[in-house]
Symmetry: C2
Subunit: 380 residues, 2 copies
């Protein structure tokens, strides 16, 4: 259980299998986000059809509503949501920072006002693990603080040191052997702080490690060196999870840097706003041109929307504010990211990842490939 087998390597990139109680997943992989116990608008059957592997659940949201006890009464997230495969839950740390009001952080815990009803809620390492054990995911995350960007170096340092002490409390209190606890490395975009966090975190030898504290407002030029610095120093033999990332270009660059797992609300959120991800960049179906186009959103895509609908039809649904539009664009965008990592895996297997990523980028960036991206994909 939680064995991680590397099958192919190409530079820092690798294709691996990660074994969980609810099935084996192949990495690199993108995990759709099911914040409130549903990937917005998408059924479990559709998630399986588009070859989703592991679904994310949110401790913060689910503990507030409907409460983890109700999810537990359904035998956890698979019973509650009817998605039969592996789940990962985050610890709530990130959402407390981004959604909670009037939060107060102490050594013991974080106290905040619920964004739903203003009630006072406390979340600690112990409580986060308790909730995550009730939610019953295959992979659970250590309770951390994710400082905002920008933050002062002394603050980030104190925060990551506390996060490491919280990690120890998570490891101590965790009871269920069928759940893998991943530790989270913090440190913002500062190498010395990333190194400190690594030094404090790696000794716990958890079955996987996450790179946290990124994609919170810094530029890609600032973020990717931090990804590379951290990824290079994480153990080869454990899965690496870049939290809250990302965009197609982030996946392609992150994989080159040795990242195995990604999650982000981006594909479903941008889909709800009428945007479709393609190899030619993001297609805006709210603009006027697609309204007359009788071709699919993405002729190379095998999702239901691309096999059945024209751009004109989807653009019509958007204008008419029909629910089928966000549903179908979310589905396509998730499938696009899944296909992207599938193609990445194939390129790694063929030992031509950098070449493939170069080609992909030329079309995606329309010739103007950014420096951070080129640097990432050519890292060895």
């Amino acid at each position: 259980m939680f064995e991680f087998d590397i099958h192919h390597r190409d530079g820092l990139a690798r294709v691996s299998s990660f074994h969980t109680p609810r099935g084996t997943v192949t990495t690199p992989m993108f995990m759709p986000v099911g914040t409130q116990g549903t990937v917005k608008g998408i059924s479990p059957e559709e998630l399986l059809n588009i070859k989703s592997q592991m679904i994310l659940g949110n401790t913060y949201h689910l503990m507030l509503r409907p409460g983890e006890k109700l999810v537990e009464a359904h035998s956890g997230l698979p019973g509650f949501t009817a998605y039969p495969g592996p789940f990962l839950t985050d610890s709530g740390g990130f959402q407390v920072m981004s959604l909670g009001h009037m939060r107060k952080i102490t050594e013991h815990s974080v106290t905040f006002k619920s964004h739903l009803d203003g009630s006072l809620v406390e979340l600690s390492p112990e409580r986060s693990i308790e909730v995550q054990e009730a939610l019953g995911a295959d992979v659970i995350m250590a309770f951390d603080e994710c400082p905002p960007f920008p933050a002062e170096i002394p603050y980030i340092r104190a925060s990551l040191e506390r996060t490491a002490r919280w990690l120890e409390r998570c490891v101590t209190v965790k009871k269920k052997p069928e759940q893998a606890l991943f530790a989270i490395v913090q440190g913002g975009i500062h190498e010395e702080l990333r190194q400190l966090s690594l030094d404090l975190t790696l000794p716990f030898n958890t079955p996987g490690f996450a790179i946290g504290g990124l994609a919170v407002g810094e530029s890609k030029e600032e973020m990717f060196p931090a990804v590379e610095f951290t990824s290079r120093r994480l153990p080869e033999s454990k899965p690496r999870y870049l939290m809250g990332v990302g965009h197609p270009e982030d996946l392609v660059a992150g994989i080159a840097l040795g990242v195995d797992m990604f999650d982000c609300v981006y594909p479903t959120r941008t889909g709800r706003f009428g945007y479709a991800l393609t190899d030619d960049g993001r297609l805006n179906l709210n603009s006027s041109a697609p309204r007359q186009q009788l071709e699919p959103v993405d002729a190379e895509c095998d999702c239901y929307a691309c096999r059945h609908y024209t751009r004109a039809y989807l653009a019509h649904l958007l204008r008419a504010e029909e629910m089928l539009a966000p549903r179908m664009l979310s589905l396509h965008n998730l499938r696009y990211l899944h296909r992207l990592v599938e193609r990445a895996r194939q390129a790694i297997e063929q030992g031509r990842y950098a070449e493939w990523a170069d080609e992909w980028a030329k079309r995606y960036f329309k010739g103007k490939v950014p420096e951070w991206f080129a640097h990432s994909i050519h890292s060895r």
Copy 2:
């Protein structure tokens, strides 16, 4: 083509096949409404899964947006919407009355302001047929006026006489033999006006007849005698379509009175508001009890939602304003009505329709079966 074969009779009720260019449908049937070129939130694949047979499209909505030319460029509604089965389009007459602003009715046409942008639009029998030929449904409807309820008898009389003259113009201008034009009988709830409309309409001998002008605000006690009066006087050998109806009890009563086809936005609309149709009546998932119930919405239902989700989960999705809630409740409600007519067909085949309807009603109305319903199901 458009042959109507009656296989079983039980009182006025019958089980029949109606042959259309895109497939044979079995009646009695309920037709999901795809107002703007989509049954709200539901994919064509799901419509086929729940055994939908014929889908309704709206001339008024589709001519205004995206315009019938775009639908025609997709080879009509099946190409545009990706639903591969039979379609029926209404004529726009009803929507002009209910949605158009500042409408002006003359012998020639109706002029109204679009509810979308206030632009002045004209709809005439000729224009309605032109639009419906572009939309390409299998069954198209004659352009009619549906007077509001209540309306003065002289107004209803003048209106239905004009509707009959419009029918003649529809028949004259109609070009496509692969489309069946159904005439609409008006006359409100007044027998003498229904008779007049029948006298003016039946001579056209169209391949089917609709009972229009009902479910516009009158009581069920007023409506069902008008359904019975009209249905008894429509030809046995043609399908009878009760427009804009209905609720489960309306279907069970209408079938007893010899109605073959129904359509209504009710199942999807009430689903979006959090209500589920069941044999025990309408279940309100917004109320507090379902939040803790680990059973499906309807244990007897075979829809995706009932096979996968608890009431507690769906109630959670509703509170969390998640798109999957209206989607799944719409799907269930459509399947409920399809299952209801499937059970009705079986009861007719077994020659025990009134018995079955009696039993169904006892549970549905919780013992208080209304007089109009009891009278309808015992009509012979």
